[in-house]
């Protein structure tokens, strides 16, 4: 078998109980940068701060000296062709606590992920996330951070890792989506997202419990875009039933989610296949 998992020798490998997150390197690094690099270091990408946020969580957990499982990061790169060494050297340059690299193609990356027992796969590409979900790999969107990133000394405190769960996946009955005219492919992704959500919620919920109400390096947000307030209530109850503590909750009832997302600045966004960026009227 072709081994496409490379270990980062600069970093201590984690135990098997760690929570494995495989994240696509597009977004962590800027692979399309026009500026010619003399060194082997890629510029930071729009989602670079995600790594910092994860590291902040691990640091806080390690400081408690408990044996709570940490996050274990794998950097995934599809179809890189030649930039592989740059990804590795950039990771080492920034001192990122990434334990493994997975170089694969867009055809076989889901198999590679399944082989690593990944708890969550993150990518900025909805097509990758959709494919992973449909093949049974828990997956979500990695979001670009649009707030200006602090550099240097100010960078000390990372903004908390913000996870945004879909209240629509948790609270909307499928019949309503069918009535509203969503397509079968969209519904398939919706169902796949729903299937993996309970496990993911359990993982995040457990992690959230390690920290207090305020100043937590991890924040859980629940947002309903299409559902009514009663469906949002249903989602809140579902979260409670899973033992998941939600910090922030929004019911948009059909309002455009983009302006609200800009305020929340999630790192991880649950992809439910219902829409991309266009406004969708609420279901009546």
């Amino acid at each position: 078998m072709e081994s496409n998992i490379i270990i980062n020798t600069d970093v201590v490998q984690m135990s098997a109980s760690a929570i494995v997150i495989a994240v696509s390197c597009h977004g962590i690094f800027d692979l399309n940068s026009d500026t010619p690099t003399e060194s082997d270091t890629l510029p930071k990408g729009v989602a670079f701060s995600f790594i910092k946020a994860i590291q902040a969580i691990n640091e806080k957990l390690a400081a408690k000296n408990s044996h709570d499982p940490l996050f274990d990061l794998i950097l995934v790169a599809n179809d890189l062709q030649g930039n592989q060494s740059k990804v590795v050297s950039s990771t080492k340059h920034y001192g990122l606590q990434i334990s493994r690299f997975c170089f694969c193609t867009s055809e076989d990356f889901t198999q590679s992920l399944q082989a690593t027992n990944v708890n969550l796969y993150l990518s900025m590409e909805t097509s990758d996330v959709g494919k992973a979900l449909q093949e049974g790999v828990p997956a979500a969107l990695l979001c670009p951070q649009t707030r200006p990133q602090l550099e240097g000394d100010e960078e000390q405190v990372a903004s908390p890792l913000t996870v945004l769960l879909s209240g629509d996946v948790m609270g909307l009955p499928e019949e309503k989506l069918l009535e509203a005219g969503f397509s079968q492919p969209q519904l398939q992704i919706f169902r796949a997202a729903k299937a993996s959500m309970a496990d993911f919620a359990a993982v995040i919920g457990e992690m959230r419990r390690h920290f207090g109400r305020e100043d937590s390096p991890l924040r859980v947000t629940l947002m309903s875009v299409l559902g009514s307030r009663d469906e949002w209530a249903s989602a809140l109850l579902t979260a409670r039933g899973w033992g998941l503590e939600v910090d922030e909750a929004y019911c948009l009832a059909g309002a455009s989610r983009e302006p609200v997302l800009k305020c929340i600045q999630p790192h991880i966004l649950c992809y439910d296949g219902l829409y991309n960026v266009t406004e969708v009227p609420a279901l009546s």
């Binding site: 109400r213 409670r240 939600v246 910090d247 922030e248 609200v260």
Partner: protein, 371 residues
């Protein structure tokens, strides 16, 4: 907040499926059961609500649950015992609807206007939209939903920021008016150009009409900017009159609530367009210390230059506002001076403080006027 925040969250109340292990079981998980408390009105709701309006087109009122409802007891628990006890209390009392707060009659009247608007314009998005805006933690959400259901309020948009400032969200929702119990947030909203006012719990509340929304505004530093008020406060009454006379034809600059009056005016015109000027369910009032004979002219001319109408203008020439407001019975009265807000409240009018302008730095001297 106090420094005794726990290092870890309390253990989960319920795990693995059942949601009733430790929490009192007020709400079944099925959505149908949650909306049954409003079954009488749910049919009417379904008819009148075609789809939720785009925030850009409607008049958005963001209201804090602390002013829509009465959360005094809960607030006391938060201040005395801290966040965890507060949240536990809220969750334990989830099935218990909150009592109405100072903004409740205003929001109810706003909904009446919406129903009238939808009768005349069934497909229009130019209606009021009420958003529940709070930096409360999501755990309080279910109690808020239950309370909204209990009173059959048409609030579908909720924004619970879990400790973060709601100011950015106000902009995201194109908020036309923000009502809160927190003066600091209100000031921040005003700084961002959003009409906002602080509301307070009331002991005595006069009954207000249910079928006509009445909104009363002070003039200076509310509808108008504080240019003239600054003259009055720093140079006295005579200088103020002189200044106003000299500039009688020059419109005042706009104040923080001009935009909201404008939004009300747009909705009023929709009733006029259908021949309902006399039965228009929105009525606006100017209640100002200016005098009709002199300084009042500039106020009226300014409104006219803005193309804005006001239904009734009451020039009190310095007389206390309380008795006049008691006669008008508005659902809400906006004033920049706490002196007037308190005077109105004492007589049962719901008064909201707009912390704008010179009056915040030079509060009224007690000897000037009697209450």
């Amino acid at each position: 907040m106090s420094g005794n925040s726990t290092a870890r969250l309390p253990p989960p109340a319920a795990i693995s499926g059942s949601s009733t292990a430790r929490l009192p079981a007020p709400l079944p998980a099925a959505p149908a059961a949650i909306s049954s408390s409003s079954s009488v009105h749910s049919a009417r709701r379904a008819e009148t609500r075609s789809k939720f309006p785009n925030p850009k087109n409607c008049v958005t009122i963001a209201v804090s649950p602390r002013v829509l409802f009465n959360m005094d007891v809960e607030r006391l628990i938060y201040e005395q015992k801290g966040m965890e006890d507060y949240l536990t209390y809220q969750v334990e009392h989830e099935a218990e609807p909150l009592k109405p707060g100072p903004a409740y009659p205003f929001i109810k009247a706003v909904e009446e206007v919406n129903m009238r608007l939808r009768e005349l314009y069934p497909d229009s998005e130019e209606v009021f939209d009420v958003v529940l805006m709070t930096n409360n933690h999501a755990n309080v959400g279910l109690r808020l939903i239950n309370s909204v259901n209990h009173y059959n309020l048409f609030i579908e948009r909720f924004c619970m920021t879990g400790g973060n400032s709601p100011i950015g969200y106000l902009k995201a929702y194109h908020t036309n008016l923000y009502l809160s119990a927190d003066a600091i947030k209100v000031r921040e909203a005003l700084d961002e150009g959003i009409a906002a006012a602080t509301m307070f719990s009331l002991d005595k509340v006069t009954e207000v009409p249910e079928t006509e929304l009445r909104v009363a505004f002070d003039g200076d530093a509310v509808l108008f900017d504080d240019e003239s008020e600054r003259i009055f406060k720093t140079q006295g009454l005579d200088k103020f009159f002189e200044h106003e006379r000299a500039l009688a034809d020059k419109p005042l600059d706009h104040g923080p609530l001009k935009g909201f009056l404008e939004a009300l005016g747009k909705l009023q015109k929709k009733f006029y367009a259908k021949g309902q000027r006399l039965e228009c369910p929105i009525r606006t009032y100017l209640v100002t210390a200016r005098s009709a004979a002199s300084s009042g002219t500039r106020a009226l001319k300014t409104l006219r230059s803005w193309g804005l109408e006001i239904d009734e203008a009451l020039f009190l020439a310095g007389a206390p506002k309380g008795p006049m407001l008691e006669k008008i019975r508005p659902h809400i009265f906006f004033d920049d001076q706490m002196f007037h807000v308190q005077g109105a409240s004492r007589m049962g009018t719901v008064a909201a403080h707009v912390p704008y302008g010179i009056a915040q730095r030079l509060p009224r001297k007690p000897s000037v006027c009697n209450t």
